[in-house]
Amino acid sequence: MKLIRLSFQNLLYRPLNLVLSLLLFSLGIGLISLMFILNKQITQKFENNLAGIDLIIGAKGSPLQMVLNGLYHIDAPTGNISLKDAEPFLNPNHPLIKKAVPLSLGDSYNGFRIVGTNLDFPTLYNATLASGTWWQNPMEVTIGSSVASLYHLKIGDTFVSSHGLTIDEFNQHEHAPYSIVGIIKSTGSVCDQLILTSPESIWQVHEHTNPVNNTIHSTDTLVHDSIPIDSALLADRQITTILIQYKSKTNIAALNMQRNINQNTQLQAATPAIEINRLFSMMGIGFDAIRILAWVIAFVSGLSIFISLYNSLKERRNELALMRVMGANPGSLFSLIIYEGLIVAVLGFILGILMSHLVLQFSAEIIFKMYKYRINPWRFIPEEAGLLAGALAIGFIAAIIPAIQAYRTEIAKNMNN
């Protein structure tokens, strides 16, 4: 359509107005799309990583922290539990439990967490081997695909672990290197970011140090953050948490198990889905605030399109009347102005989407460094198509009053000098 080209020329003729409108519009669209994408990808990540776990058991503390630590590997442990306390739940003949996977956590390699567990753990994530074998002997590890690709690790390589989840040169277990025996195929879950080994490896790493000096030993336990541990317990073997799948999710006895554990034992049990929903609703407040801000910006940008069209129309009265003189009917003038609004909306939309994905591209690295979560910055979601519809609606609404004015242009009045 020739009119669209003229609309475009008219917009280009007032570059400052155009830039301001585009800037505001793309900012609004960009923020909203960023919200949509982050919300969706983070929610999906969290839900994927639930891995069908119905209950998580660990040391008393914050249940949310326990879930973030035990299932998502982004927080420190609440503490450790003695293997003796955990034993009943690990019994394969437990009437309510289908699968119970013990985890020993606390150490890491370059920010990637080392998990001491058994071979049930990879089955939770349907993980299969890309090469090599699963770990068998202490100090053998099978590593996730992200770990392997980021540090170009291959089978036969060795490394030493360090305390906690951060890289700490002064706090490394140099005496006890791990050796890689296998690499896991990418699963898209948290499993990609883990280093799997047997619990015995973890015990071995931590038990070597100065058996004569109990004080040093006690700083060298699996727990680095909280809870001083009774040194009598150190003789005992410890694990961090147990991940449990029920035989039946609707069994009342199974549902009561959580309350029983919390009331009658030294352990803490939590339902991951509930804790994660709690986390989402807390994050949701932040998301809501940004969402409101984004819509306010979108509204203001609509207003700026309206004002700039309205102002330019005042200057263009004669021009529009002239177009009528040259044979344009009122409908064409209406369309001319509507197109201007829509062009700003479409360009603003494209810029905004580009902006949000570029921001994701940059923050993907930061998110990965902080949480070891890979988000895909160039994955487009259906909500963005909905956003296009919203953008077009804003452009249309902003243009409609100026367009009606253009439609009503009276030639005689405006050509009367």
Binding site: K2, L6, Q9, N10, L12, Y13, R316, N318, E319, A321, L322, M323, R324, V325, M326, G327, A328, N329, P330, G331, S332, I411, A412, M415, N416, N417
Partner: protein, 210 residues
């Protein structure tokens, strides 16, 4: 050919203005004179199909232009009537040549760049072809608006005070140019003015308000 009969117009709250009948053959020229506020521009707008008269009829090329629908009249005006205003108006965002092309497109024709170049040459503004209208001087702008009025080969050209903002020399030049160009394209020319400087140039004169 243009004929107007019994045309009158009434602005709300003011007296009815009766206009004299007009009859103008092809290639004929005519000057409509009168004091400010007497209704010269009103008459011109009525003749151009921009303002529906309270009564009376306007025939251009044997068509009663106020029998058209509004869009039909816009279309007819684009094709048959060339209008020149006191101030030159343009679509500011596109160059001179495109302005002329749009004058053709809006009246339902295809742009004929040969015709456009020829006109710009005739009016000696060929060098401004690709310039935005705002870059032209006042005289050049007036000439560009004459070119635009002529581009569709209208049968009638209506000019509203085309000389009022020009100095003596340019005023005469523009009037001569208008007449010359109208004659070249075989169009009738009506100039509405209160400019005494150009009275001698036209034999056929109609005085309003007398």
């Amino acid at each position: 050919m243009l004929t107007s009969e019994n045309v009158s117009f009434k602005y709300s709250g003011r007296d009815l203005i009766d206009f004299p009948d007009l009859k103008l053959d092809n290639n004929a020229h005519c000057l409509i004179l009168g004091k400010s506020g007497i209704g010269k521009t009103t008459l011109l707008h009525i003749l151009a199909g921009l303002l529906k008269p309270t009564s009376g009829s306007v025939l251009i090329d044997d068509q009663n232009i106020y029998n058209f629908t509004s869009a039909g009249l816009d279309f007819f005006r684009g094709q048959h009537i060339g209008l020149i205003f006191q101030k030159p108006y343009f679509i500011q965002s596109i160059n001179v040549s495109k302005n002329l092309a749009w004058a053709q497109q809006l009246s339902g024709k295809k742009p004929e760049y040969k015709r456009i170049d020829e006109l710009l040459n005739r009016l000696q503004i060929q060098k401004h072809k690709n310039h935005l209208p705002s870059r032209l001087s006042a005289g050049e702008q007036q000439r560009a608006s004459i070119a635009r009025a002529l581009v569709n080969k209208p049968s009638i050209i209506l000019a509203d005070e085309p000389t009022s903002s020009l100095d003596d020399e340019n005023a005469l030049a523009v009037v001569n140019l208008l007449r010359e160009q109208a004659e070249q394209d075989g169009a009738s020319l009506i100039i509405v003015t209160h400019d005494a400087r150009i009275k001698e140039q036209f034999q056929h004169q109609i005085k309003l308000g007398e």
